[in-house]
Subunit: 208 residues, 2 copies
């Protein structure tokens, strides 16, 4: 199985070019390993070996195993927020923007499912300070979705009883994709995105 280059999943990774290639390899190995086995079941030897180095080399590039997780989680959340913001601020009415948001949010969680798993399911392993940063980003994402639903409801495009619950449902659908999507699927990330976009618009009562 060839893995998608990290750069594809993560165009916004800060300092991706400046970073030494070895540090980049470690990051990619950590993503793969954390996603497959979870943070606590992954050993520093796993990560280092997968990156083709001795265990000690990890500590030249990162302060600790937890620092690796923090970097992955923060960059992954930042990328997701950017994606959501761009879609929400794009052209068209609320329904059109919501469709694009869901399409891209869903497709990202399918395409970058390894990063997505770390981002969504390894929060509890984050050090406290890194968690605080990430929690703020998650709140921003949820607020962005809520605001768009509210705009759609105000414009009469959406019919929703509870904005918070609807926003939860929309983000839930996308997040959970990173749990079940395998890549063996016949559905491409983009196809899945389009279908989920359709389902969400109906869910929100947009007559489509």
């Amino acid at each position: 199985m060839t893995s998608t280059p990290l750069a594809d999943l993560w165009p916004t990774l800060p300092g991706a070019d400046a970073r030494p290639e070895a540090a980049y390899r470690l990051l990619q190995a950590a993503v793969e390993s954390f996603a497959e086995r979870g943070f606590h079941a992954t050993t520093t030897r796993d990560i280092a070996t997968a990156a083709g180095m001795s265990p000690a080399a990890l500590y030249i590039h990162y302060q600790s195993k937890a620092a690796l997780l923090a970097e992955i989680s923060q960059a992954g959340h930042a990328a997701t927020l950017t994606l959501v913001r761009d879609a929400a601020a794009g052209p068209g009415g609320p329904a059109e923007r919501m469709r694009r948001l869901v399409e891209q949010f869903t497709a990202w969680h399918a395409r970058a499912r390894t990063v997505g798993r770390v981002v969504n399911y390894e929060l509890h392993a984050l050090p406290e300070d890194a968690y605080a940063v990430v929690a703020a980003l998650r709140l921003d994402i949820e607020r962005e979705v809520s605001a768009l639903i509210e705009a759609g409801a105000a414009a009469g495009d959406f019919q929703v009883a509870e904005v918070r619950t609807a926003a939860r449902a929309v983000t839930s659908l996308g997040i959970d994709v990173s749990r079940w999507y395998t890549g063996n699927s016949t559905e491409t990330p983009e196809e899945l995105g389009r279908r989920y976009g359709e389902l969400v618009l109906r869910m929100l009562g947009a007559g489509v």
Copy 2:
């Protein structure tokens, strides 16, 4: 925080009465701990201490830490499948049955969120033989939902482009509840269930 008695979450736990009280306490402590920290971050000392015993006592009642996880996961999956089957086989048309299924599936994942987390997010830690059992149960659940959607589509009650994708979305919404629901929420599990039932029917194109 008082925790819900296991019996409430788990009416179908086999041999719950015959089981010695100490074994029951260990099971409950394991659920709580696995849900909060994950299987690998939980130590046998954590579980035993929470159950008010020494670490060695655990091995009188269970073969291993993994055996505890296997028992929780299998019983939890069995309970979920029963719940889904009962709703799908109940009275009324496809839409009515689907509404009840989603209401109960969702409410269960909110109410029994600790068990739900172990069931849905600790699969990778299961021993191979236990995983095989559980995977079969998961397949049954998905099939049950797919069959109900298909019945609704055949009856003209639902309008769905892809049954598989729709079924994924329906189960996804419920499963993900166990990730984010905290109990601090103002929404009770039953309220959330009703709202999700409404959203799902619209998603499936049932004119409601």
